[in-house]
């Protein structure tokens, strides 16, 4: 327990009759990047709202840094940063003013110029946010979440809809923040991003955690490694052959392929988190 930044036990929340989060339990270790994956409406945002004290769980408990979220929400809020999925900055204020406002509310002296440099907005510091692109706003949201040097950073779909450059800048910032000792709770339905960044992933569907482990172990447990080969037919067309790796007759199968077929290309292929998610939940992530 001592090394866990987040501990959730039987956390439950319902909107009227609709059970949004259904008795989920998990732990997130210190300086871990924990990806919380699920399609829209799976219960991701509701979980984050409960963990950040925005709503009270109907049942169950959660502790952040050893403090109960129901009993000490104000204490916890000093140690967390949240970047929301939708932009909620003050558009009439400049980037600096937005960060300065939240620094004052947290009662901290933040090095705002450095923070803005880190998210690539150093030259736009004095401009009003209303003129920023979506990517710039998203980067500023992440900067705002870091203004109080949080020990736990919640990021809700931080790269959704961003151009590749902005998305990469945010990913680098996430890794840099983790390197400084912060725990990252990453909510996303971008499987590639989760695979690239996270130490562990949890699949959530219909309010329940369906699987939770490192991406590598999930792939080992649920996925199949394949060798995919393109072969040329007699008529000049191309066919595809798949050979499962890690089985007893893999070597023989590969040998036969090269002996009997005209192989044009060969690729090894791992199961993706998306494939595993579909396998575990029976549905796709998007939509």
């Amino acid at each position: 327990m001592a090394n866990h930044s987040i501990v959730a036990r039987d956390l439950t929340y319902a909107y009227g009759e609709n059970l949004a989060v259904d008795h989920i339990s998990f732990e997130v270790g210190e300086a871990e990047i924990f990806a919380y994956l699920g399609p829209n409406g799976a219960g991701k945002s509701t979980t984050v709202k409960m963990l950040t004290g925005q709503i009270r769980p109907k049942s169950g408990t959660a502790a952040l840094l050893g403090m109960d979220i129901a009993r000490e929400p104000n204490k916890i809020q000093h140690h967390i940063g949240v970047a929301f999925e939708t932009t909620n900055l003050y558009p009439q204020m400049s980037a600096t003013e937005n960060l300065a406002l939240f620094a004052r509310l947290f009662g901290v002296k933040a090095d705002i110029p450095t923070l803005l440099e880190r998210v690539g907005l150093g030259t736009r510091a004095k401009e009003r946010v209303e003129g920023f692109s979506k990517g710039m706003k998203q980067r500023l949201m992440v900067a705002r979440a870091l203004v109080n040097k949080p020990r736990i950073l919640f990021l809700d779909e931080p790269t959704e809809g961003l151009d590749p450059v902005s998305a990469e800048a945010i990913r680098e910032l996430i890794l840099e923040t983790r390197a400084n000792g912060a725990t990252i709770f990453l909510t996303t339905h971008d499987m590639l991003e989760a695979d690239k960044l996270s130490d562990r992933v949890a699949f959530i569907n219909q309010g329940k955690i369906m699987a939770l482990d490192t991406p590598h172990k999930l792939k080992q447990q649920y996925g199949k490694r394949l060798l995919k080969a393109e072969i040329e037919r007699a008529d000049g067309g191309l066919d595809t052959r798949e050979i499962t790796l890690d089985s007893a007759d893999t070597g023989e199968a590969v040998k036969r392929l090269f002996e009997n077929e005209k192989v044009v290309t060969v690729h090894s292929e791992e199961a993706s988190l998306e494939d595993i998610f579909i396998q575990v939940t029976g549905r796709r992530l998007m939509g």
């Binding site: 949240v82 929301f84 932009t87 900055l89 009439q92 204020m93 003013e97 509310l105 009662g107 705002r144």
Partner: protein, 356 residues
């Protein structure tokens, strides 16, 4: 919530409010314009008088005497028409000289003359009319019978009784100007709250050590201060705070509480700026209705007392224009306070439900 957070939230609201060009403009322009309007309006009452009269035959001596005192006569065909003209504030007074009154004067008999006064006729006009009429009729009596007049006046005040309290238009409008500034803040503050909800910035604030109660407190303090300062400025610059300043300022403060409650309701139910404008205009129109009773006495019915702003207008009017003191308006002030607290509680309740 600690002072630092409250101070930070207030500074933020102040900045955001005045960065909204529309609200910044109407706030500053409103104060300036209303003060200018007050000073541009006439400060005196027109002293040349026209008197309504019903008399089957108007004696020449009577006419000559009145015209010598800058009073002209407007004749009416009936006593009823004369009364209606006075009720409609066309004339401050009217005299009914029926045949029996003329014959009484003619024969030196004890005579009663009916005089109608408009309810808002100032006391000096009432006194002057009494004197002038008595002298004119005395003159008439001497010229007709050679005897001194045995005259009695039957004075009737028609319309709401405002005798002796006639006011210059600008003084009548002053409560309207001051309260209009207050109620305009329902849109400004309502807009700020609706913006915080719509743009999700409130969610971001509540992730910090800011609490829902702190958010409400900062908005209430900002709304009350902004509304109060503007209205107090108008009363101060127009010199209306010379009589019972503490009473007037307290009234404005309670009025600010009232409009802040309405702003909370608007902020909770309006979606976007258009929603704020629509609900805000509706609130302003309803809140302004009682002002007509002050500007144009007798033009609104008693149902306006159901509108809380009536007690705001009326208290300011009574104190600043009619010299009322604490005792005369205390009950109204209490009603206003209760209404303000009730509206603020309703606003907080609706807004809190919306946030949850």
């Amino acid at each position: 919530m600690n002072g630092r957070i409250l101070q930070t939230l207030l500074a933020k609201d102040f900045m955001l409010y005045f960065r909204n060009r529309f609200f910044a403009f109407i706030t500053i322009a409103g104060v300036i314009l209303f003060i200018v309007v007050y000073f541009v309006l006439p400060s005196t009452v027109d002293e040349s008088l026209t008197l309504g009269i019903y008399a089957p035959s108007i004696p020449d001596a009577f006419l000559e005497f009145l015209s010598g005192n800058d009073i002209t006569l407007q004749a009416f065909d009936s006593d009823e028409a004369l009364q209606q003209a006075v009720i409609d504030y066309q004339y401050p007074a009217g005299v009914s000289l029926e045949d029996n009154a003329i014959s009484g004067i003619l024969f030196g008999q004890e005579t009663t003359v009916t005089v109608y006064f408009a309810s808002d006729a100032p006391q000096e006009i009432v006194d002057m009319m009494r004197t002038v009429l008595r002298l004119a009729l005395n003159e008439l009596s001497y010229s007709l019978s050679g005897d001194p007049l045995a005259l009695d006046f039957n004075e009737q005040i028609i319309g709401p009784d405002m005798t002796g309290a006639q006011l210059a238009l600008r003084d009548r409008l002053l409560p309207l100007l001051a309260v209009a500034l207050l109620v305009m803040e329902t849109m400004g503050l309502g807009g700020l709250i609706a913006d915080e909800i719509e743009h999700g910035t409130l969610r971001a604030l509540l992730i910090t050590p800011t609490t829902v109660a702190g958010f409400f407190t900062s908005k209430a303090v900002f709304g009350i201060a902004l509304a109060f300062v503007q209205a107090a400025l108008v009363l101060g610059v127009t010199g209306s705070l010379s009589h019972e300043p503490i009473l007037l300022l307290l009234t404005l403060l309670i009025g600010s509480l009232l409009v802040t409650g309405i702003a909370f309701l608007i902020g909770a139910i309006a979606r976007g700026m258009m929603g704020v404008m629509a609900w805000g205009m509706l609130a302003i129109i309803v809140m302004i209705i009682p002002a007509y009773g002050v500007v144009l006495p007798g033009t609104v019915s008693t149902w306006v007392t159901l509108i809380p702003s009536y007690y705001l207008f009326d208290t300011i009017h009574q104190v600043s224009n009619l010299g009322a003191t604490w005792g005369a308006v205390l009950n109204k002030l209490v009603i206003l306070f209760v209404a303000a607290v009730a509206l603020l509680a309703a606003g907080v309740f609706v807004l809190e439900r919306k946030l949850r």
